[in-house]
């Protein structure tokens, strides 16, 4: 817990005492999300079928839909950056949902996890832009008019640096707020109070993961398309 209301009891504290590593809770819950995703992926890879059934069907529908959405927004180039976008979305979604399990805390309710992911996004879309445009990528920072270019250079730099910060703070604020509300309602009215909130928070957590995905897509669009 960074600050604010401490979680009453998390499994990670118990695991940490057993292992004696002295790591903060969000690291354990991130590992948990990674284990869940890797297990799902390996299980699916083992029995891929031409006619999908069960879990393969669910994943194919969700990922196919997201790919269509990305290609509709980014064009055919979207297929090249789609693996990054989609793994980001699924990873954040699983980490968010883990926060809903009693005794677990969302890894995204800690600034450090989100800052790491937002920095990855920042470096990735700039890398894609530089790879595509070479030195001409600087035109993306210049704005439409040559006379205003020095001013626009500073303005764009400020707004580009603000992007990872706002990604971090948005995800952290929403998920942390939801965790605090859950703890507070659990203190007030143990099961009765928290159960209705679960429906709201499943929606909220899905939307937050989707916002991260959509903003990453918009930033990638900005670095892929021609500058003005």
């Amino acid at each position: 817990m960074a600050a604010g209301l401490p979680h009453p009891l998390t499994y990670s504290v118990i695991i940490d005492e057993k292992l004696g590593l002295g790591l903060p809770p969000h690291v354990y819950y991130m590992w948990m999300a990674m284990i869940i995703l890797l297990t799902c992926a390996l299980m699916l890879r083992g029995r891929l079928q031409l006619v999908p059934g069960g879990m393969q069907n669910v994943f194919e529908t969700a990922i196919g839909g997201l790919e269509d959405f990305t290609v509709a927004n980014l064009g055919e180039e979207g297929r090249r950056v789609f693996p990054f976008l989609c793994s980001m979305f699924i990873f954040i979604l699983v980490m968010n949902y883990i926060g809903l399990i009693p005794g677990c805390d969302a890894a995204t309710a800690n600034v450090n996890t989100n800052a790491a992911m937002a920095l990855c996004v920042f470096l990735y879309y700039n890398y894609i832009g530089i790879k595509k445009w070479g030195f001409g990528y600087i035109k993306h920072f210049m704005g439409p008019m040559p006379a205003l270019a020095p001013l626009m250079l500073v303005l764009e730099t400020v707004s580009h640096i603000a992007r990872p910060l706002s990604l971090t703070l948005r995800l952290f604020g929403n998920i942390r707020g939801e965790e605090i509300v859950l703890v507070l309602l659990f203190v007030l009215a143990p099961v009765l109070g928290t159960l209705p909130m679960y429906f709201l928070f499943i929606l909220g957590k899905t939307i937050q993961a989707f916002i991260f995905f959509m903003l990453t897509m918009i930033y990638l669009k900005g670095s892929l398309e021609h500058a003005h």
């Binding site: 529908t61 969700a62 990922i63 196919g64 839909g65 997201l66 269509d68 959405f69 500073v154 303005l155 764009e156 400020v158 707004s159 640096i161 603000a162 992007r163 910060l165 706002s166 703070l169 948005r170 929403n174 929606l203 899905t206 939307i207 937050q208 989707f210 916002i211 959509m214 903003l215 918009i218």
Partner: protein
């Protein structure tokens, strides 16, 4: 519910997430401008001029972000209704 039409993110999901993004850019851009001004001042020893200039630039950058975001939403909603109501406005871009 949210991935209704053949797994595609539904319109409601897109609108909700767009609404969730507006506003925070304004705050973060202001703070980034403030921090840049503060550290440039410490480095160059020109207190407090660069702080003021970069704070203003940060506020302008934040407003510009919100403006561009609003224009993006407007263009998308025009794209949705464009078929029935014909071209509206004369945005050159």
């Amino acid at each position: 519910m949210l991935f209704s039409n053949q797994g595609k993110p539904s319109g409601a999901m897109e609108i909700l997430s767009t609404a969730g993004t507006i506003g925070l850019q304004l705050v973060t851009a202001t703070f980034v401008g403030l921090a840049m001004g503060y550290f440039l001042d410490e480095w160059l020893g020109t207190s407090p001029w660069l702080l003021i200039v970069f704070l203003l630039l940060g506020i302008v950058a934040g407003f510009r972000d919100v403006f561009l975001e609003a224009r993006r939403i407007q263009r998308r909603s025009e794209g949705d209704h464009g078929a029935e109501s014909g071209p509206r406005g004369s945005d050159p871009k």
